[in-house]
Symmetry: D2
Subunit: 337 residues, 4 copies
Amino acid sequence: MLNIAVIGCGYWGAHLIRNFNNANDWHLKYLCDIDDIHLNKLANQYKSIATTTNYSEILRDKSIDAVVIATSSESHYPIAKDALLAGKNVWVEKPFTQNSLQAKELVDIANKNGLIINVDHTYLYTSSIRKIKEIIDSGELGDLIYIDAVRINLGLFRHNENVVWDLAPHDLSIISFLNPIRPISISAIGNAFYPYSNQKLEEVAYITIRYEDNSIAHINVNWLSPVKIRQIIIGGTKRMLLYDDMQTVEKIKVYNSGVTINTRQDVYDTLVQYRVGDMYSPYVKDNEALATECAHFYDCINNRVDSFTDGSAGVLNVSLLEAAQLSLQNGGKEILL
Amino acid sequence: MLNIAVIGCGYWGAHLIRNFNNANDWHLKYLCDIDDIHLNKLANQYKSIATTTNYSEILRDKSIDAVVIATSSESHYPIAKDALLAGKNVWVEKPFTQNSLQAKELVDIANKNGLIINVDHTYLYTSSIRKIKEIIDSGELGDLIYIDAVRINLGLFRHNENVVWDLAPHDLSIISFLNPIRPISISAIGNAFYPYSNQKLEEVAYITIRYEDNSIAHINVNWLSPVKIRQIIIGGTKRMLLYDDMQTVEKIKVYNSGVTINTRQDVYDTLVQYRVGDMYSPYVKDNEALATECAHFYDCINNRVDSFTDGSAGVLNVSLLEAAQLSLQNGGKEILL
Amino acid sequence: MLNIAVIGCGYWGAHLIRNFNNANDWHLKYLCDIDDIHLNKLANQYKSIATTTNYSEILRDKSIDAVVIATSSESHYPIAKDALLAGKNVWVEKPFTQNSLQAKELVDIANKNGLIINVDHTYLYTSSIRKIKEIIDSGELGDLIYIDAVRINLGLFRHNENVVWDLAPHDLSIISFLNPIRPISISAIGNAFYPYSNQKLEEVAYITIRYEDNSIAHINVNWLSPVKIRQIIIGGTKRMLLYDDMQTVEKIKVYNSGVTINTRQDVYDTLVQYRVGDMYSPYVKDNEALATECAHFYDCINNRVDSFTDGSAGVLNVSLLEAAQLSLQNGGKEILL
Amino acid sequence: MLNIAVIGCGYWGAHLIRNFNNANDWHLKYLCDIDDIHLNKLANQYKSIATTTNYSEILRDKSIDAVVIATSSESHYPIAKDALLAGKNVWVEKPFTQNSLQAKELVDIANKNGLIINVDHTYLYTSSIRKIKEIIDSGELGDLIYIDAVRINLGLFRHNENVVWDLAPHDLSIISFLNPIRPISISAIGNAFYPYSNQKLEEVAYITIRYEDNSIAHINVNWLSPVKIRQIIIGGTKRMLLYDDMQTVEKIKVYNSGVTINTRQDVYDTLVQYRVGDMYSPYVKDNEALATECAHFYDCINNRVDSFTDGSAGVLNVSLLEAAQLSLQNGGKEILL
């Protein structure tokens, strides 16, 4: 049993609290938020858990093994740094930090002190993404040609980050997980329509990543869509896959469809033929991704298990966001990585 | 009653032939294809219509008022030019020509000779696109923020044109029709995965267009998708619209959803609030777009009616394709128009 | 090559004419309709085919091998009888006749004269229903527990037959084909809401059939539904199948789901456990069912091939309709067959 | 603030506990279950709430105002009777009791003692069903012609009740709420395929109800469906409505479609014409039905508010189930109510 505290009791914090409270391996000792209203609302539901509006109090508690940082994104870096320097393992919400220098610094501190960083790329703990990873790794899809991700809805405007920093971390973490090939460039193009908060923040953006093996990834993120779409299409040389996260069942469909290339000596043209075949949808047992991630975080600390959502995954995620931001500010210019 | 001939009896030619044969205003006098097999297959169904493998024969027939050119795209320009010079009105399949110089030359010849060019941007003759145009023009959606178009499927590989020239003419024609604001730049990024026919042709591409009024359009075209998606989302400042052409009913949905901006003097921040409301789907009576277009072509010739699919629409379409191609060859560089 | 005539040039007649005109084995010699308007509309499209408003003229033509009867249902019996007595093979639309006595009489006449009757149960010629039959016959689903069919839409009111006689022939033919077990009883309950034409005709009806092997079938037919649903669910002891005819792709889905019964000696209760597994959708190549049926009808006549849509299939279909009608008139009373 | 206890900590009990724990008006004082495992699992999450395996202990506590009975259905009656006789208000899960005599007896005891019975027909507290009720009551649909409900899935087998008693209470409560016209008869037909627990329990059933005003309702309940469908279609003389509870958005669609009857003096036939128009989907704000119901139960007790899920609603529900059961045992015989 390890002791943990959750700093940040907003929408996502509430889910984290519920999961850590239900976890067998964890004792949730503190809830923390600078906003009394958020804090009291949750304190009311979890009467036996201590509360504080000052996270330093938590860091001073020697019995605390780890802290969860679910505050607004600009405070991830300072709180995580404080926590690591106080010898606490940390779980940080996405985006990990606001730039890659900060991210690397946190990883260095953690490494020097033998501490664990978990960046909350929750999707990598869903049964669906795990099943897709398994399908890709088995070679069933052949070589990957493209990954096309759409994450659009009528979303919560942020006052300090654009749609890329808000939504794209999810898809970038998923894509980096599914396709570990080295990305060589990134381009992003978007539109900041509504002027507010004295700044322009893109509400719509399109990101393209090129990979060493000539595959490509594209991410469509949008806060101004009347419909909610959460969809990833993966084109492989052997089979193709559709992941539709808005479905309650049959989220994954694998299509035995593709292209057959026949090269014949006696003809000038390569013969390109389509192949359309059966589709199947693997049964995936529903899990609550956060519960799986809580158990995994315990394993990382207690059993030194390797994680694919560790600090270095966070560094990669933030580096891609940073490069996308640079491209966005340069009219979609391709940024080499 | 005007006399017409269809040159090119492939997949689309068969639809054109059926429609001109059924049209009250047209007498379909010839079917023409250089391929005997295509020609005979249709001749068999339309026993009373003359056939020829040589289109010059048709152009020499003084009674012919117009010709339909549904051949492969590289022959559109030479055949259309011959036809116009022979005094025939022409209906040309998309893409109109292979570059904008050719397109402009054809328009010049037609204008000088008082002849009509109809570029077959069929979608503009569907009840759905007409209804969407009507909704936009009524001001119901407010100002347009973005148009996001997806046209993907497991498609027919072309041996001489990439997915942009094959599929994007449809969306470019729809977008130009719906949003007549002047485009200021275009970017395109894609992937040519399969090497064939001694050349690389993109099978996947993403096109972004910026407009004078700060709106944006994005087109996702893909020949390698396991699922067929034909969808356009239009974000307006007042309402938003979804057009899903794969639905057999309720293709258009209008969402009373959006963003409300409140600027208050006494607060630093602009208040951005979401508004989610009812959705409605206007009833749209099914029509066969080609039948409507055939009747319209007759009107253009006989009654000198103006058309939004005339030669100049073809010039715009080809100019956008040309610029997208240039961007594609330059890593997604933004091309000013 | 056999000579054929189509009697009845309404909505469905037009499809029959198109298919027989395109069929290699058939020469379509006459179009016939008592209504000049219907007749001329089609004559205009098929300029080389003779027309008549009097079917007797066709029956007198010695060169005619078969006639298609696509007239309103009350005239099926007299025209089919005349045609058979004139030595013609007949293709009759559904419902075959208005009662089983008529149906049996036609079968007798055909048998005595060595003539073929094809009852146009078109669904049995679709790739989808054939594929489902193949799946059932392979034993993949195990024993059938139930078939649940829904065929509802905003439909064409008939002035002389209720929704059961209009829509249920389709499902009854499909169910009889898929599950050839002997039905033992039928019940039907419905609602005739709108009084018109001096009679009450059910617009909504629910039919239940019990089979010898304890399986059950249920058919929901409705002319007053705002949405169009054409769906059949088949529950088997091993797997379950969903057929959704409104989908353009993936019409058939097979679910590796079901119930596992474990009977253990040492426990009182039977253990019933659910099993949820993968789903797959077999690729089914689109065909035009009518084209397949035209070719089959030729085979039946020319090559004496057996048919599952012959006169006896028509007799079974009409017998089930007749019993359903009797039940309907008796408050849903179970009618033994 | 009123004190309450939840008796029965199974799947549904857990939801009730969560809601009463979060409710402002309620103090949840006890959790009770005869099964230690169920009890401890929840006790672990709600550390400050007392637990007991003996509900008599709760009934003896004078401070308790109400008890929730979420045990298996055969124990509803005895526990509810004990609770009412102990002067407690009761909330009872569906089905209220196992027969209408028990239901009436409980209502009598409650009435004599001025106690409130709430039967947990949860659907009547969803925003969707409330919105549909509002639409019907406004007269927008015209007169009701039929209600067609489908509630099928791969369900939990019960060892002591069939699919009618398990699933149909939901639809019967919804239909009784939406259409308060007096039912005049009920018919039910079903299939008990799997023999287990020494008895046969129907896994598939079809129920039809006839109403005084010539409208009809049909309910399809099924434990053996590979797909989960929760759908109600309502046909009215003016408009038609589709409620699809499996959708996450746009659960309700209202179709401006229907039938127009023109009676003309000079023609023999009534002219029946179809009218197909726009569809709209009213925005319905998500609520948690149980939270609304908890607040309502407090109002019923504290403010003597009338309820449409009171004991008499429970009596009606059980009476319909009872009659359906009788019909089921008599081959679908129509049972007069």
